[in-house]
Point group: C2
Chain length 237, copies 2
DNA sequence: TCAAAAGTGTTTAAAGTACACCCATGA
DNA sequence: TCATGGGTGTACTTTAAACACTTTTGA
């Protein structure tokens, strides 16, 4: 016979994934238009319940994989939400993870099957439950962390140009950066590896394509670094 | 009749508090020597289960208050732990909070009643379950955040000297800092307010006592700032 | 008057910032 | 040949880092 704790109530434990993608211009969220109850027809984050034999990260990877067909992306737990009435159906505590996804690599079929779409972060519709505030918190965390760690690359294709990287940072912080200083700062990290190739899509002068120097990248994941000129993050963790 | 989600299992949800204190020399943890089962006689973090009508932060404040008699201190959620076998009695997911406590202000009686003691972080005994790794994670988070935000003050008495503050940072990072540069850096933030008084305890030249400029402090909580000369944090969030 | 700790100053190096100029490309 | 965007350079300012000297205190 298994022993159990007494006099304590058990509760539903959900996981919600905030999935960020970058389309070259804007930061996007992968959202689901619900074709199931409750809140049929409304938009929500991708979520699910914790399985009996699953770790938290394992469960959120499962959710991410089912939706996007991706399994090896940047995924980080960032906050657990547990307001008593956050879910009107039944009390549910949500452990939230945010994911950074290369928008070109995900599986369009899996996404359509889940009735999901990429939606511009700026123009997103209202979401169900407390998902709006979860998204706000995830964006704050992304902004905070991306200023100090080289996360941005996770949102770009394997080969990318410095102007693309800059556009990404500008989208994350909803700001504009000086081209010349940004370039110098990024190059000085040693994170970029030249491929010798050039971006064929460009209309004017073609920018050089770089890949990430994975060795340096792993070092930088732990140490940290300022990726922005002025650290004027309005809000932070 | 209330609606419920189907086909999903409910789970125990605990909260664990990692309570940091500073005694003037070392960083300390408030730990409990358990006089109850399971793991009778072993050391653990202070924890408890989520009440049916409690928010997460509310519950962890309750736990903190019961133990220390303090209610208004720095308390921040930092990570949720959910490995399947982390609690051998029954599966339990733990939402963990770390707290910064002014060691002089807590309630000695409440602490003794819970069989708790302040234990040096460096020389702490092994803890039950996964509490060792929770403490490691909390220390990492504290180090990360204290380098960029003025948290340290929460661990000091209302009136404190710059050398005391420096000792605190040296304890947090287990390092030594240059007195002169540290002093200049701290003063340049405008966070300190002179009281005109001097530290009577000092044996040699008496250092000035400062209080926190709460107005500036609130600004800095959001913006951020480097409190250390070299940001060589071995590990981070 | 001496040792120990606090307080202030200075010099140098590195980083951040704001610019200007030239180059490649396709219409 | 012109507009657009990419690439490189430079001068200026701010901040960080390393270091030396003076002051206060109680024994």
């Amino acid at each position: 016979m298994r022993v159990h704790y007494k006099h304590t109530s058990r509760i539903l434990l959900a996981l919600d994934c905030i999935i960020f993608g970058f389309d070259g211009e804007e930061l996007n969220l992968l959202l689901i238009k619900r074709n199931f109850e409750p809140e049929y027809g409304k938009w929500s984050l991708m979520g699910g319940f914790l399985g009996e034999q699953e770790d938290l990260e394992e469960a959120s990877r499962r959710i991410l994989y089912n939706l996007t067909g991706l399994d090896s992306n940047y995924l980080e737990q960032f906050q657990t939400f547990g307001a008593v009435d956050r879910d009107p159906v039944e009390r549910t505590v949500s452990v939230s993870y945010y994911a950074l996804v290369n928008i070109e690599e995900q599986d369009g079929n899996a996404i359509r099957a889940h009735n999901a779409s990429w939606i511009s972060l700026k123009n997103r519709p209202a979401l169900i439950f407390d998902h709006d505030s979860i998204v706000d918190a995830a964006l704050q965390r992304l902004r905070y962390k991306a200023a100090l760690h080289p996360l941005g690359f996770e949102l770009l294709p394997e080969k990318f140009t410095i102007p693309q990287l800059q556009k990404l940072y500008e989208a994350i912080y909803d700001t504009s950066l000086d081209r010349r200083n940004f370039s110098r700062k990024i190059l000085s990290t040693g994170l970029l590896q030249s491929t010798g190739e050039k971006d064929a899509n460009s209309v004017t002068k073609k920018a050089q394509l770089f890949t990430l120097n994975t060795e340096e990248y792993l070092k930088f994941q732990n140490g940290f670094f300022n990726f922005l000129p002025e650290l004027t993050l309005a809000e932070s963790i």
